[in-house]
């Protein structure tokens, strides 16, 4: 239009990624169009393609960004002195709190459609989940070894149950229009689950 302040490519890229993440949470990852992203940040639709070659590349960048956010979250959660079970608990609650502030995460993570079209994204998230699983597994093993959890428990299976808890709860939260408090509901369910593991 008239005098418009241009921004650096780097700045625009992060704007695009941020806008995509925000909009994905609001209207769903499938509903995203380059037109919508463009409007959100105030440039034209083809302008988007000055910064990303394809729409898929935007999703990849969003995936990377989510990965970094999660990594940062993990770093914050780590309290060295605590019991493994407490670290597990904090981690799960922290994750749910994180989801609550960034609702796009479960939406993107569970979007079969998105993954079907984007091999890279799928493998990336698969890796994220796998690392969570092994992390949980280790913490649970530590609890078993120290005798606070039953020795009969398979740490892998127990870890899957914890992951399923998070995932199931996040999905229920989404379907219920995010109407309940995710972390506190999660804490309640987690207590019930972990209580069953205790020796």
């Amino acid at each position: 239009m008239t005098t418009r302040t241009r921004k650096s490519a780097k700045e625009r890229k992060t704007e695009i990624v941020d806008a995509t993440l925000r909009l994905a949470g609001e209207i769903g990852p499938d509903r995203m169009t380059t037109e919508l992203i463009a409007k959100e940040i105030g440039i034209s639709q083809p302008g988007i393609f000055r910064h990303f070659p394809t729409k898929g590349a935007i999703w990849e960048a969003v995936g990377q960004h989510i990965g970094k956010l999660m990594q940062a979250k993990v770093a914050l959660t780590k309290k060295k002195g605590a019991l493994p079970v407490d670290e597990l608990r904090d981690f799960v609650i922290g994750h749910l709190t994180f989801i609550e502030t960034t609702p796009a995460i479960p939406a993107i993570l569970f979007s079969r459609e998105l993954h079907a079209e984007n091999e890279k994204l799928r493998t990336f998230f698969a890796g994220l989940i796998a690392s969570r699983h092994s992390h949980f597994s280790k913490l649970i093993t530590a609890e078993i070894d120290s005798g606070r959890f039953k020795k009969t428990i398979d740490p892998d299976d127990a870890s899957f149950l914890v992951l399923a808890l998070i995932q199931g709860l996040a999905m229920r939260w989404s379907l219920n229009n995010r109407s309940f408090d995710l972390p506190s509901e999660g804490a309640q369910l987690l207590d019930l689950l972990l209580d069953g593991f205790k020796a």
Copy 2:
């Protein structure tokens, strides 16, 4: 083209619904097009609209059909003599076996995309899930009342955990290209979970 045997509307309708359910499992509910359905059953794409006014109507019919299939499954599972916990176990395993033979079910059930566009479908499936939750809840309550499960357990929460188990496992199964045996893996996880509930 040449001599083509016409079929009754009723027959075609069920063909369309069956084909949709099958294809949804293979390529994903989002990827479904009327063209694909038409090819699958051997008529032209507009021919579909002789039988359903809109594509949404096809999904509703598919939803109804899934509901009926599940209902039939429930009827089969009901063994009157067994303990509540055994009924619960059978129900979950039966459900997973059912999913294994009809992989479209979790895909459709958890397709945010599909639900966003189809209010009726969303409320329909919400009802299905709610009925499962209350069913599980009742069975768990019976176990608590008979003293076999801990009295401290909230049946609602416990029921949510069971639902999450099914959902999480089904999703993992999908992401892993359906490479493991769903019912047996489910049985293992369920045993671990229910073991924690025992008094």
